[in-house]
Each structure stands twice: as structure tokens, then as C-alpha cells.
Symmetry: C2
Subunit: 109 residues, 2 copies
DNA sequence: TCGTAATATTGCAATATTACGATTAATATG
DNA sequence: CATATTAATCGTAATATTGCAATATTACGA
């Protein structure tokens, strides 16, 4: 149905899935990488940088804001975005807990 | 349009996005966690374990197989799945490279 | 071979996502 | 104040995803 049955999964599974889904589009990865690369906030130039329409970039920024990975502040006519370090760190812990569950698993197939 | 413009992104960005997208559904996380938990291959009991219809589970297994994170082998009428450790390790390297890019970034917003 | 069990595939409906043009709201600047 | 600039939002089209029933396939045992 295109609708995920979140109620049959744990809160942890749903949270991790939501974070992973956010990383599941190259434009959002490009936005995050650009933010890390310039080591500063980015004000406006993401549209030329990435090459999607302004409305589309705005949607991706909203998606990143919704999971808390970035935050924005208004600076005149522009809006500046930067990584939310606290959330980024928290996300890393969640991701690592999942990625590092593979101790001693055996390859039986 | 529901279609991602992959051609404007790097191969690395598209590859990471594809992996992340696979983790972007709680059912697929549940399948992977079950595989790690039992430390063996899983043959058939995923449907009762997870609580989605057999057709749906089969689809999620196919998605996991397509990115190479699991592999299956036929054992009679059943099919056994297990983690593909090589791919899992490779995926971890890719994910970690992305997650650990945050050295010295400053919180300017 | 026939029936059964397990899994995959197909077809479909509902919903989500991606993308963009147009519009709107807010703030600068002349 | 009028106009330009910037970004969010709206509306819409195209495509993708999720989920399941029905069906197909495959392997096994009687």
C-alpha cells in the first residue's frame, strides 16, 4: 500500500529506519557533505551547487530538518543551514549500534 | 516525479543512498536483526516472526538480496537466508566513511 | 504421479516520494 | 513606497514503495 506498518515494529526500529530513509537520497547526502566540506553554514548556494530546482532543494532541506540533522537560521533574505552536531552525534550512536551487531555471526549459507 | 536524478550525483553518493534506502524500512531492519540474533541462517519462520504477509516478506528479502547484504541457499522446500558478511563489512566501511566526516565542523547557526 | 508445503511472482490498490513551475511571504535596497 | 531577492509552500505530474491476495513454482513424500 505504500504505507509502512510501523505499529508492528519497535520504536528503535522505526527510528533507525526513519534516519536511514533520510540518507536514502543522493541529494540529501550531497547537501550534508557540502555542509561538512565548507565547515560553515550554507546560505542559498545549494541550488547551483547541487543542480536541482529551488523547490526540490527546499523539500530535501525540510526532510533533513524534520529528522533534526540540520538546523536553519534566517539571515536577511537568506536562510543559513548547518549540521545539528548534537543530533548528528546521537544519530551516529544509533547507526553504530546497528552496524556493529555483527560480532561472531557465522556465514552458514 | 518519484524518480531520482541519479546522473547528477557521484557514484559514491548513489551507492550510499541505495544502501541507506535498504535500511529505511523497519521490516528489513527486523529481518537483519533476527539474522544476527539467531547467529544462523533463517529458514521460513520470518513470516510469523515479523508479522507481515508472506508475499511482503519475500519482497523485503529480495530487496536485501539485491544490495547483496544477505544471501540465500535452497534447502529442500525451504530457502535459508543469512547475512553476507563480506558485503556487510564493505557496507560498514562505506557508512562509517560518511558518518565520520564530521571532524571539526562548527555549529554556526 | 499426486498432494502438500514453502517460497517467489504477479497484479493491483493505496500511499509516498521526487521533481518542478508558480505563487506567496518576508526582507532588502533603491 | 516600489521593486528585487530569497526561500517556503502549493499544486500537480510522474514514478516508487508497501502490502496483500491470488497464483505459480519448486521440492519433497506417499
Amino acid at each position: 500500500m505504500g504505507i509502512t506498518k510501523t505499529e508492528i515494529f519497535t520504536a528503535e526500529q522505526n527510528q533507525l529506519a526513519a534516519l536511514a530513509k533520510t540518507f536514502g537520497h543522493p541529494a540529501r547526502l550531497a547537501i550534508l557533505q557540502h555542509l561538512f566540506l565548507i565547515k560553515d553554514c550554507v546560505c542559498g548556494d545549494l541550488v547551483e551547487e547541487i543542480g536541482l530546482a529551488q523547490a526540490t532543494i527546499s523539500q530535501h532541506l525540510t526532510a533533513l530538518k524534520n529528522v533534526g540533522l540540520i538546523k536553519g537560521s534566517i539571515a536577511g533574505t537568506r536562510v543559513c543551514y548547518c549540521i545539528n552536531i548534537e543530533k548528528w552525534t546521537e544519530m551516529k550512536h544509533i547507526m553504530n549500534a546497528f552496524l556493529n551487531q555483527d560480532v561472531n555471526s557465522n556465514d552458514c549459507c
